[in-house]
């Protein structure tokens, strides 16, 4: 007689491994992943890979075009600005500030949001109800308005703009997490777990969390995208970084006057923002698909 569990034990891979396997087969997503790794490296090692200091002026080389255009200087790959500062270095510095800002915002929001969202979903009564109404109210305020209010209250600085953006995006994230946990809570397997006597923490860890990976990825991507867009928007409007901090949006607004003379100075930071968002979104989309297919 054959053993009953003959089939079941044949290399059932762990879900993460399985997701990774599927993810690996998606070429664009893998490319995006490498791009993200490169971006992170750039962020970490900006001081070492910058060809010049971003504030160093080369008075004899003003407004150089990038290397492919006529009249370029190979010493400045992407040219220089109106004070002879190296565009590439400034761009790298800007990417560092913006990306680091957006990543830390995403990190803070995801931790706080998971905590608050899970608490709200798992508790009932007055606490949850207050939470709910507060969220409802906060969600009706446009993020840019929230950010402006907070900046006016706390004063203008890069750190404050990050704080403001975190606070303005937090309600969205909490609401998202709350809804996905709520959806999951109504499912049979949670009821089964509950009947087994599982406490809330165990419920979260084994019952809920593995099943909300997909909406979580979607939410995090959205938060990250919005964070980048808002950091740069506030920087552009002059509410974010102060004069010495070159964040991508501020870089654009400072070069605005030169847009006719050297459009590259406006184009490059915009393209950089665009690429950062694209790369992260493509990567997240790949992960999401892998998770969905893995679940199927």
């Amino acid at each position: 007689m054959l053993i009953n569990n003959e089939f079941n034990e044949q290399k059932i891979q762990s879900p993460l491994r399985y997701i990774w396997l599927i993810f690996k087969s998606k070429n664009i997503a893998v490319v995006a992943m490498w791009a993200i790794i490169t971006l992170l490296m750039v962020t970490l090692f900006t001081p070492y890979i910058m060809p010049y200091s971003p504030t160093l002026q080369h008075p004899d080389m003003l407004l150089l075009p990038p290397y492919w255009a006529e009249g370029a200087n190979p010493a400045h790959l992407l040219g220089t600005d109106d004070l002879g500062r190296d565009t590439l270095s400034r761009l790298l510095k800007g990417i560092q500030l913006t990306l680091a800002g957006a990543l830390s915002i995403t990190l803070v929001i995801s931790m706080l949001g998971l905590l608050i969202g899970a608490t709200a979903a798992l508790t009932q009564g007055v606490k949850a109800s207050i939470m709910h109404h507060l969220l409802d109210a906060l969600l009706t305020i446009p993020t840019i308005l929230t950010a402006l209010i907070l900046i006016v209250l706390f004063g203008m600085s890069y750190e404050n703009s990050l704080l403001a953006i975190s606070l303005s995006l937090l309600p969205q994230f909490i609401r998202g997490i709350y809804i996905s946990i709520e959806n999951e809570l109504n499912k049979q397997h949670i009821i089964a777990l509950r009947l087994d006597g599982a406490r809330n923490l165990r419920l979260l860890r084994f019952g809920i969390f593995p099943n909300i990976l997909e909406p979580l990825v979607t939410l995090l991507t959205r938060i990250f995208t919005m964070a980048i867009l808002e950091i740069t928007t506030l920087g552009f409007l002059g509410f974010g970084a102060n004069a010495n901090e070159i964040e991508l949006g501020a870089l654009i607004s400072k070069s605005l006057e030169l847009v006719y003379l050297s459009p590259y100075l406006v184009l490059f930071p915009g393209v950089a923002i665009f690429l950062i968002i694209i790369v992260f979104n493509v990567f997240a989309e790949g992960v999401r698909h892998a998770i969905i297919e893995g679940e199927e």
Binding site: M1, L2, N4, E6, F7, Q10, L21, S25, G294
Partner: protein, 343 residues
């Protein structure tokens, strides 16, 4: 005369881990005017066959068949457009969980009206404004609903699906299915998750349709016991392989495949005297997941008669219309057909 004749139907599904053959060379021969039961456990591929017949493929399916004839039309060679035409008029299908197969945002009336024999465009347009035309449609719908045993048709046609019970919904589905007098009605586990009384009603309705309107029915079920009495012919399917197929008498009286035998034994007949606290009969093991199917005869690892030969796929053998795919069938002594010889 065979209404539906399918030879060597195979379905492969492409997944992240490669191609999986979920239906392996299935043959199906449905006689005109009969009720044909297709029995198999959940996930054995019954619904896939039904979908293949209707041509409802997903993109990641590869469907191949040597022949797939409905009467004298070769379904596999038709364009999707022509096939859709046939679906509307020649083949109809009803499903389990009928409510989910009804559009939640439309009233029953509009949904049934949609399947009524096609009229020319201007007539359909005028039917919205000219009360007489609309009235004639109402009449047809009323008759249809009466035919499937819905009494308060006025209330039903003005309802949304979520306001009706599953049983009524299934009756509506059947009404919609028979509206065009199709030659073949496929019933895909029509009574799952219904109450016993409703189940009986639905089966009786199907039987009546078969008897009164000579409608051929392909009845899919995972419960051998509930449909075997209804069926003229029965096929059994296990993990995408049709293991045995034959008339009711042949299958019930002289099952040859170990799986069929196991199935028949599951029908508890209390007068047989089951031992007190005795174990009910099952095959050892459980159904393998679709991505880890054994090669050769898929019952192999669970089969009480399995031998080394079972790793090769058995050929279908026909004993006077009793078709079987097994290396070691249980052959009655009475049968004098040339026994397949195995060493």
């Amino acid at each position: 005369m065979a209404l539906l004749d399918i030879r060597n139907l195979s379905i492969d599904i492409i997944t992240a881990q490669g191609k999986i053959r979920v239906i392996d060379k299935a043959n199906l021969n449905i006689i005109d005017g009969s009720i044909h039961g297709l029995v198999g456990e959940s996930g054995s591929g019954k619904s896939l066959i039904a979908k293949a017949i209707l041509g409802l493929h997903n993109e990641n399916w590869i469907v191949t068949a040597d022949r797939m004839f409905l009467g004298n039309i070769d379904l596999s060679k038709l364009s999707s457009r022509a096939r859709r035409k046939i679906m509307g008029t020649e083949i109809a299908i009803i499903f389990q969980n009928p409510r989910s197969y009804l559009d939640p945002s439309k009233k029953i009336f509009d949904q049934i009206r949609e399947v009524l024999p096609k009229k020319s465009h201007h007539k359909r347009f005028f039917s919205k404004v000219v009360p007489k035309l609309r009235a004639s449609e109402q009449q047809i719908i009323k008759e249809l609903l009466h035919k499937v045993g819905v009494q308060n048709d006025q209330a039903v046609v003005q309802s949304y699906p979520y306001e009706l019970s599953e049983g009524i919904c299934q009756k509506v589905m059947i009404a919609m299915a028979i509206a065009n007098n199709p030659r073949l009605l496929i019933a895909d586990e029509p009574t799952t998750s219904m109450e016993a009384v409703t189940q009986a009603q639905i089966f009786r309705l199907l039987y009546k349709l078969n008897q009164l309107h000579n409608m051929t029915i392909l009845l899919l079920s995972n419960n051998f016991g509930s449909i075997s009495n209804l069926s003229d012919y029965i096929s059994l399917i296990y993990c995408g392989q049709i293991v045995e197929s034959g008339s009711y008498k042949q299958i019930v009286n002289s099952p040859m495949h170990p799986y069929t035998q196991a199935m028949i034994k599951t029908i508890i007949e209390f007068d047989d005297g089951v031992d007190h606290k005795g174990q009910l009969y099952t095959l050892p093991g459980s159904i393998p997941p679709a991505n880890q199917l054994p090669i050769g005869c898929r019952l192999g690892p669970r089969c009480p008669k399995a031998q080394r030969t079972c790793v090769s796929n058995p050929e279908a053998v026909n004993y006077k219309g009793h078709i079987i795919r097994c290396h070691f069938p249980q052959l009655d002594d009475k049968k004098d057909a040339n026994t397949p010889h195995n060493k």
